[in-house]
């Protein structure tokens, strides 16, 4: 069980007040931060690790002989090892540091996709995907003459139609790209099962968008049976500007460099360049060492809390939220009804009030939620929605914050006289 009060003490920003007097953050209402799917807040342990790196250990990595260069290199390599282990990677050299999930997926599209996807090939993704797991494939398909197909999502349950997946595997796709936890519907896709279905019928590679999974549940890429796994540091208590792409070793070894230049090479002349081995081939230019250090601290913080504990805590919160929101006749919830089928987020609409207006009123009560299409326009269009409002939980959210959300929605009802 998590000690929420103790956890909250680790997060400086949670003690902010909102809408008080200008420049006085001690006045106003206590922040209720329910926008974790967009980005998570950072514990002081992560902030201090980054500050400490810049105060005491900063230097460029790999190429130096001097002491600081050594220290920075060791810290960077340690970070890679710790983060790789956290997601169950067998070998740290299978983990590429990237800026975020979007960059990770683009890397696969350019580096692997351009080599292995060709004219008339099929890339299979789903109707519930985030734009970052749709657009790079559309672009790739456009470049090489392939096409993108979408596995159906059931409108009622918000779940992936596995029978439709089975049918679409008949198209013999070269790649199946699927999200593990939907940032809109909250549905959790059974990746291990999907990977097995894909392997049984095709030779396709499986790419997983793990942006909303890694921060909130235990992840083991080996057990998932996938080939590529992408995630973002800033959603898991880490800093912005760092994320990870895990690639199965045999595949990564055959992938050409994505961005090229310094760091990716072993030899350069004017005539030709010989590229470096793993992982350097995928580390172009000066890396975000501070970011990697911060991400390592975030992983250590998460490990100390326990991913299973975090998952269960968020399940409780989202369960309470769904229960209480269901009692409000003017609110409609999207995604799986059953808590055990969903991650710790819930998107909803208030009937007769635009999502932006809902978020605005909630903001007046210092409640931070997100409203819009959440970078999932196709699924919104399929459901006939322009925009929804989303509350997403993390380890530091508490039950009374769910209460405040509900009270905030009652205020929406009152303000808009619905």
């Amino acid at each position: 069980m998590l000690d929420i009060q103790k956890i909250r003490e680790d997060f400086p920003i949670l003690h902010r007040k909102i809408h008080g007097k200008p420049f006085d953050k001690t006045q106003g209402k206590r922040l209720v931060y329910l926008d974790n799917a967009a980005t998570s807040q950072k514990p002081r342990q992560v902030i201090e690790a980054i500050t400490n790196y810049y105060q005491n250990h900063n230097a460029n990595v790999h190429r130096g002989i001097h002491a600081l260069g050594d220290e920075a290199t060791n810290l960077y390599q340690e970070s890679r090892a710790v983060v790789a282990k956290f997601i169950g990677a067998a070998d740290p050299n299978e983990l590429i540091f990237v800026r975020n999930t979007t960059e990770a997926i683009n890397l696969v599209a350019y580096s692997w996709g351009m080599k292995y996807i060709g004219r008339d090939d099929v890339i299979l993704t789903t109707e519930m995907e985030h734009h970052s797991n749709i657009v790079p494939w559309q672009e790739l398909a456009g470049r090489v003459g392939a096409r993108v197909e979408y596995v159906r999502v059931d409108e009622e349950s918000g779940e992936l139609d596995l029978e439709d997946l089975e049918r679409k595997l008949e198209l013999k796709p070269k790649l199946v790209a699927v999200v593990q936890v939907s940032n809109f519907l909250g549905s959790i896709n059974e990746i291990a099962r999907i990977s097995q279905m894909v392997a049984d019928k095709t030779a396709a590679r499986v790419l997983v968008d793990g942006a909303q999974a890694v921060p909130h549940m235990p992840v083991d890429v080996g057990g998932l049976g996938c080939d590529f796994y992408a995630f973002s540091g800033h959603k898991m208590f880490g800093p912005m500007g760092i994320g990870g792409l895990w690639v199965r070793r045999e595949i990564l070894e055959e992938m050409p460099a994505f961005m090229t230049g310094g760091g990716t090479i072993s030899q350069v002349s004017q005539k030709r360049t010989v590229f470096a081995d793993l992982p350097d081939r995928f580390d172009a230019g000066t890396p975000n060492v501070a970011g990697a250090v911060g991400l390592k601290a975030a992983v250590e913080y998460l490990t100390q809390l326990g991913m299973r504990n975090i998952f269960e805590h968020e399940q409780q919160l989202v369960g309470q939220a769904i229960e209480r929101l269901s009692e409000l006749s003017f609110v409609k919830i999207y995604g799986p009804e059953d808590v055990k089928d969903r991650g710790g987020l819930v998107a909803f609409e208030v009937k007769g009030v635009h999502a932006h207006d809902v978020a605005q009123v909630l903001d007046s009560e210092a409640i931070a939620v997100r409203s819009g299409h959440h970078c999932v326009m196709p699924m919104h269009t399929k459901l006939g929605l322009a925009a929804t409002t989303r509350a997403s939980f993390a380890a530091y959210n508490s039950q009374d914050e769910v209460d405040r959300l509900v009270e905030g929605l009652k205020k929406v009802k009152q303000v808009f006289r619905i």
Binding site: H354, A355, H356, D357, G372, H373, V415, F416
Partner: protein, 139 residues
């Protein structure tokens, strides 16, 4: 914040003025121009329609707007802004005054403080109006 959803905004949101299909009862020499405008990422989608004189010659653009309507779906700010704008158009009538309306005027009409994100909602009607006026000017 409570200021943001003042009585006026809620009133114009729930009872938008001049809301409806294009005004099709035309007098001699008149026509209707209609333009759609959206904030795609919010899902605000509106249409403005103006009834005005057809331009008689290249430099004889319509002098007045005879009637204005709007319809569509959007947030409280964009709907209220649209409603208030159409009232202003009816009040001013003359095209040379109406075409001078700008963002500052919109915000004054709404009489609220808007964050940069919401300003797009407030100016959507203005963008629609400008496009409609350009259409009205063309032959």
């Amino acid at each position: 914040m409570d200021d943001l959803y003042r009585e006026q905004i809620i009133d114009h949101y729930k009872n938008p003025r001049n809301f409806g299909p294009p005004p099709l009862k035309l007098r001699k020499g008149e026509r209707v121009v209609a333009v759609k405008e959206a904030n795609a990422s919010c899902g605000d989608l509106f249409e403005i329609s103006l009834r005005l004189q057809k331009p008689k010659a290249k430099n004889q653009k319509p002098k007045a707007i005879a009637a204005v309507r709007f319809r569509g779906v959007g947030c409280a700010i964009s709907t209220a802004a649209f409603s208030l704008l159409t009232e202003k158009i009816k009040q001013l009538k003359a095209v040379n005054k109406i075409e001078k309306l700008n963002q500052k005027d919109m915000l004054e009409m709404l009489a609220i403080n808007l964050s940069p994100t919401r300003i797009k909602c407030a100016t959507l009607p203005l963008r629609a109006l400008k496009k409609a006026l350009r259409l009205g000017d063309s032959g």
